[in-house]
């Protein structure tokens, strides 16, 4: 019987083509949008982790409270022993200290007088020690536009746009004017080794990346660091695990009232990430619900018109001794076949598009001009195992709902009424 229904369905284009197309489009969009949101979320988490929050981050309690003002006078001290201890306790994680700093970058002319000057957002990380993970975390080689990655002390990278604004070439000298940990003025000379563009608006406006040893010397921060970032070895953020580590770490210092005690926080807890993620989740859930609703309506309508046209056929089948329940079930079977077929095709198309956009991405830099979010300008879709099944939810739910509702028309009509349709 199923085979019989399937044959009929495939031969009657009007009964299969339009509904399948509807399902294909709906499922395709669902898969696509899901992957898109997934990609945006991944991108957002990934960029944030690399440039800003780590998967977990340790700051002093006082520093954490005013973290956006980069209060280096409140930075952690005794960093080396802390990192060693962390490495021992969590050997699967990567721990790396960073110093953020603000200041002016001054470009001198041949006489040593100021030629150009601009405010700079600096980040000091371990660039030079052997086996450092930071060049990989920042993907410096990929981000490099001109020049090269720093290879010796006193070499820095600055963002390409910033370099253009200041008319700086690789090899030029730049002077950083900033404040030491104790609050006095700091001046240090660097050589611009290269320029970079991360494709993350917040990082590309006026950033400078320096080796942490140079900055420690310049800002008088020996064995100090504003923050210590922790990363999972595979660079995939796992919130439960991060929370667990954080709880464990903080338990050791929980009762200590000292302002300079190190406290750990997860990626999601920093900078309102939780809310953003919840919003993204809600948004993707909403998209799914809307698609199910709209598609159900469309298919219900198609089903309704379909069975209106088919009342003749249904009359014959009743006369041949088929029960209404049997016919109703067969309508649902048919719609499920349409649902499965449409979902398969829709998922395939949606995945193909998603894979394409996973590889090539879509530039949304123009939208991010003034954004301070750490999100890559090139949005990429991200295909996950869920992408393969997510489309079947609206695909099957909508066809099932649509046909179960429209199919009840059979019950509402008297057998003799259905027979009357035959006589026209």
């Amino acid at each position: 019987m199923i085979k019989f229904l399937f044959k009929g369905l495939m031969r009657d284009r009007s009964r299969s083509l339009f509904p399948i197309l509807t399902v294909v489009i709906g499922v395709m969009l669902t898969v696509f949008i899901y992957n898109w949101i997934n990609g945006a979320q991944f991108n957002f988490i990934d960029s944030n982790a690399r440039f800003n929050t780590g998967h977990v981050k340790i700051m002093s309690r006082a520093y954490a409270r005013e973290a956006d003002q980069v209060p280096n006078d409140l930075a952690l001290i005794g960093v080396q022993s802390l990192v060693d201890k962390l490495q021992e306790e969590y050997p699967d994680m990567i721990w790396t200290p960073r110093i953020r700093f603000g200041g002016l970058l001054d470009i001198p002319d041949a006489e040593g007088e100021t030629r150009e000057q601009g405010p700079v957002m600096g980040m000091a990380v371990d660039l030079l020690s052997a086996g450092s993970n930071e060049p990989g975390i920042f993907k410096l080689e990929e981000a490099l536009v001109r020049g090269r990655v720093p290879q010796r002390a006193a070499e820095i990278l600055i963002s390409e746009d910033f370099a253009r604004r200041l008319k700086v070439q690789p090899g030029d000298t730049a002077t950083l004017i900033s404040v030491t940990m104790q609050g006095s003025m700091a001046v240090a000379n660097f050589t611009v080794a290269g320029t970079i563009r991360f494709g993350v608006e917040a990082m590309d406006r006026g950033a400078m990346i320096a080796d942490i040893a140079d900055i420690r010397a310049a800002l008088d921060m020996e064995d100090a660091a504003g923050e210590i970032l922790g990363f999972f070895g595979d660079f995939m953020y796992r919130d439960p695990q991060a929370s667990q580590i954080t709880t464990r770490f903080n338990a050791a210092h929980g009762d200590d009232p000292d302002e300079f005690v190190p406290v750990m926080d997860t990626l999601l807890h920093q900078a309102g990430m939780t809310d953003l993620m919840a919003m993204l989740k809600m948004f993707s859930g909403l998209v799914l619900v809307v698609f199910i609703a709209v598609m159900s309506l469309v298919l219900w309508n198609a089903g309704l018109m379909g069975s209106l046209r088919r009342y003749g056929e249904i009359g014959v089948r009743l006369a041949l001794g088929e029960t209404k329940t049997h016919i109703y079930r067969s309508l649902i079977w048919e719609s499920l076949m349409i649902g499965v077929l449409g979902s398969l095709i829709g998922t395939a198309v949606g995945l193909a598009e998603s894979y394409y956009l996973q590889a090539h991405g879509l530039n949304i830099g123009f939208m991010m001009k003034n954004a301070s979010l750490f999100i890559s300008n090139v949005l990429r879709a991200k295909v996950s195992p869920v992408s393969y099944v997510i489309g079947f939810i609206p695909g099957l739910a909508a066809t099932f709902l649509g046909s179960s509702v429209s199919g009840t028309g059979i019950y509402r009509r008297q057998t003799s009424r259905l027979m009357k349709e035959l006589e026209s």
Binding site: R11, V316, L320, T323, T415, L422
Partner: protein, 240 residues
């Protein structure tokens, strides 16, 4: 008692509400049909022929009175029981053929057997036998749209007889056919009636059909006006 007749109606009444009035489609019809009859219901348009066939065929139920078909009271059957009665014992033939357009000739004839849980091999055999009866064994793969009216009606007959029902109800089976095809169809049905003992009840105003009948029941305004035994007039129509 009632089992001795294939069909028996007692004071069968069917009315339709029509605004303030009621339309009386059947007015106290009392009829008995025996096995292997070849009977026609005639009468002017609106006299209740289709209504009577539909009630006998358990597609409709009477307003009052009773119709007993093969020992079952039609008015007391649930939807499911009525389906089972039609499924096992009754074949329908319609004026407009009503083949399922997306299915082949073979699949159309096979359809009633699908509902009866025959094995694929049995279905195949029975379908071919039925198509043989109507002379269309060579058109199994055709679609209804590729058939002439006469051929379509023969497929419909094959579909009605494939499960060898005791009773076949035919509502104006020749109304859409030319003379030659009508005769062909009628001869086929007559042969089935003779060979298988299938009871045929027609609704018709076609003179050609009337020539083949052995019993003619005339309805007028929903009541039985005349009930005559007759000798088939057609040379091809043989007596039993």
């Amino acid at each position: 008692m009632e089992n001795s007749y294939l069909i028996e109606t007692r004071d069968l009444v069917k009315t339709y509400p029509m605004g303030e009035h009621t339309i009386v489609a059947l007015d106290k019809v009392n009829l008995k049909f025996e096995k292997a009859e070849f009977t026609g219901l005639v009468g002017p348009s609106g006299s209740g022929k289709t209504t009577l066939l539909n009630i006998i065929g358990s597609l409709d139920s009477p307003t009052s009175g009773s119709a007993v078909v093969m020992g079952r009271k039609v008015e007391g059957l649930s939807h499911k029981q009525a389906s089972a009665l039609r499924n096992h014992h009754i074949g329908f033939i319609f004026q407009t053929f009503n083949l399922l357009p997306v299915y082949t000739v073979f699949e159309n004839v096979e359809f009633p057997l699908l509902l009866l849980d025959y094995s694929a091999a049995e279905r195949r055999k029975m379908t071919m036998v039925a198509l043989d009866w109507v002379g269309l064994a060579d058109r199994t793969r055709s679609k209804p749209a590729q058939l002439s009216g006469g051929q379509s009606q023969r497929v419909a007959i094959a579909r009605a007889v494939v499960k060898k029902p005791a009773l076949i109800l035919a509502d104006e089976p020749t109304a859409n056919l030319d003379a030659e095809n009508s005769h062909h169809i009628l001869q086929t049905m007559e042969r089935l009636n003779r060979d298988l003992g299938t009871t045929f009840v027609f609704a018709t105003h076609d003179e050609k059909v009337i020539d083949y009948l052995r019993r003619k029941i005339t309805l007028f305004d929903g009541a039985v006006a005349k009930d005559e035994r007759m000798e088939p007039q057609r040379p091809g129509g043989e007596k039993r």
